[in-house]
């Protein structure tokens, strides 16, 4: 039996297209792994086994009939549970949406389906995408397949875990402050946040509307390129989506990048950064330099990271991000009021406002409540100028830094995270400590740029280390090209966590 679990999505797609394996066979292989491994890692909110097998059979029939079933025909993919699907439920891992059945398909998932993919299930996440560990899920945490006592990262922890532990060929996540890239780094897989507006947000449950983007989490860069291409494109139903053409990304990444200037932000290599990660990123830079790339020191002053007098990490960008994200979240989550859908309190109420207040109190987790309240605080009379308005100005300064940097380099190379995956429970009691896990990823969302995380090594404890490549707006081709180049030259790709036992050959 061909080693389905050892294949990338692209390889599996090719095997199915050649007829050497059917989609039903491949889907069954993954579902068997889910049955075995899911109890250990809890990556899924909902596994859609019957539906997946039925769909796989349909795709097999289409291919038998000689039809072109699409560039992803028959490949099993999981999607984060904040992507609306008109099948199963869409809960955002929140009790307030525990039984919500979306009446429509999100554009991104719809494109996967139109391309022939088989949707295996909806993955666990931090509630409403608010978190960096998936510990904020209303239905229990997901565990890192590299070490079950550690977090997989968040908020797309379920998706990253599902890919790393070979429970699906790839997954979709969403990224508002690092929620694709950070779990990808913690789980030793690749993850891309596209340029803001590259992928339609129609059907993505909104958290921070000026920051959110949907993107792929995959075994390698080639798979990232393929999935990004499938889900990208203008959508009239998302007025923030870009009209720019989508390039042929799988073809683009095989073209050598030519003379390449790689920017290393000097502010990112302070003592805030774990020593091993620092070394791994510099080794990656040297690896790329050996191919002829030029390493250039650049400066991102408003994204700089300091330690304050008490030794705590300090970053303007983190403050800016959280003000903006929480303000947007307080508005976006106002719709969960128990009126049209979602949880409604069963307690007696004197009127509609009490119904809102009790329903929301019962349905939302603590982190969500915190963010809604902070958002309302920073937007309220007397505080708007000092916080929200100020943050929007700092946002422009952060973006300007990148614009200047991209005059000197083609792509920025930096860490994805300040540490490797931390222990479950370690940061859960102090919100601020958790927020600081995002220091290397958030500027990218604030500036709307594309960012790719890919594994560049393992720590001494055996945990994956991720490196991040950031591009100019619509710079997916260069980011993916450099990522692919790194994979080829370093040989680092398709890392396998200890929990995975490979079946078949290899």
């Amino acid at each position: 039996m061909t080693d389905v679990l050892g294949m990338t999505l692209t390889e599996l797609r090719d095997e199915i297209a050649s007829g050497s394996i059917s989609s039903q066979q491949a889907t069954k292989v993954y579902l068997d792994v889910v049955e075995e491994r899911e109890p250990q890692v809890s990556a899924f909110r909902e596994v859609l086994a019957d539906r997946a097998l039925t769909r796989a059979a349909e795709v097999d029939d289409e291919r038998q009939a000689g039809k072109d079933a699409g560039p992803l025909a028959g490949v099993p993919i999981a999607v984060k549970d904040n992507l609306c699907t008109p099948f199963g439920r869409t809960t955002c891992s929140s009790k307030i949406l525990a039984n919500f059945k979306a009446p429509y398909m999100s554009t991104a998932v719809g494109k996967l389906v139109d391309a022939g993919a088989v949707i295996l299930g909806k993955t666990n996440m931090d509630e409403f995408a608010m978190g960096s560990s998936t510990e904020n899920s209303g239905f229990g945490a997901t565990r890192n397949p590299w070490d079950l006592n550690r977090v997989p990262g968040g908020s797309s922890g379920g998706s990253a875990t599902a890919v790393a532990s070979r429970m699906c060929a790839a997954a979709l996540g969403s990224d508002t402050g690092g929620s694709i890239r950070q779990p990808a780094a913690f789980c030793g897989v690749a993850g891309l946040k596209p340029t803001y507006g590259r992928v339609s947000r129609y059907g993505l449950v909104a958290y921070g509307s000026s920051l959110d983007q949907i993107g792929p989490i995959t075994h390698d860069v080639a798979d990232c390129a393929l999935l990004t291409q499938v889900i990208s494109g203008h959508d009239p139903r998302d007025s923030t989506s870009l009209t720019a053409d989508v390039p042929d990304l799988p073809a683009a990444i095989n073209a050598p990048p030519g003379s390449l200037r790689i920017g290393l932000p000097k502010e990112f290599y302070s003592d805030a950064l774990d020593v091993e990660i620092n070394a791994a990123i510099h080794k990656a830079a040297d690896t790329l330099a050996q191919t002829g790339a030029q390493l250039v020191e650049i400066s991102l002053p408003h994204s700089r990271i300091d330690r304050d007098a008490e030794g705590k990490l300090s970053s303007y960008a983190v403050a800016c991000y959280y003000i903006v994200a929480m303000a947007e979240a307080s508005s976006n989550l106002a719709r969960y009021d128990g009126v049209h859908y979602g949880h409604r309190t069963s307690k007696d109420v004197e009127g509609i406002v009490e119904m809102y207040s009790k329903s929301r109190a019962e349905g939302f987790g603590q982190e969500v409540k915190r963010r809604i309240m902070l958002g309302n605080y920073t937007l309220s009379a007397g505080y708007y100028e000092a916080y929200y308005s100020k943050a929007l100005k700092v946002r422009r300064l952060i973006k300007n830094d990148f614009d200047e940097a991209f005059k000197l380099c083609d792509v920025v190379l930096c860490p994805t995270t300040p540490t490797t995956a931390f222990q479950i429970g370690e940061k859960a009691s102090d919100p601020l400590t958790m927020y600081l896990a995002d220091i290397y990823t958030i500027s990218v969302n604030l500036a709307g740029l594309p960012g790719l995380s890919l594994p560049c090594g393992l720590s001494a404890e055996g945990m994956p280390i991720g490196m991040q490549l950031i591009g100019p707006p619509l710079g997916e081709p260069v980011v993916l090209q450099v990522g692919r180049l790194f994979e080829q030259v370093s040989g680092i790709s398709r890392l396998t966590p200890p929990i995975v036992e490979r079946t078949g050959t290899n």
Binding site: N99, P103, P236, C320, Y322, K369, I372, A391, R396, P473
Partner: protein, 99 residues
């Protein structure tokens, strides 16, 4: 910024947010929110005198749509998740006074 986030302010924010809070939550949130807001105050260190705010990540302007009929949800689809349905309506408790 010389504002303290005390229990009264948390209660007020809770009302603005339409989230009922227990006394215990009010106390804990007061501490946590105060620490986070103090962190936000760092931004005051930056000079943003002549800087334009940036509410959008990538700026697009005047994205308009033609005013023509397309597909929309049927009443049954729209009401499918209703906690309480009354014919073609969502049933809710009455709106009273000025809460």
């Amino acid at each position: 910024m010389d504002k303290s986030i005390d229990s009264n302010l948390v209660r007020h924010i809770g009302r603005l947010s339409r989230i009922e809070l227990t006394e215990g939550e009010i106390r804990i949130f007061a501490q946590q929110l105060a620490a986070i807001v103090e962190y936000f105050d760092k931004l005051q260190e930056l000079d943003t005198e002549n800087v334009q705010p940036m509410p959008h990540a990538v700026e697009v302007y005047n994205v308009l749509a033609e005013d023509k009929m397309g597909q929309s949800l049927s009443p049954d689809q729209a009401l499918a998740n209703a906690p309480q349905r009354d014919g073609d309506f969502f049933r809710v408790p009455k709106v009273i006074g000025d809460s």
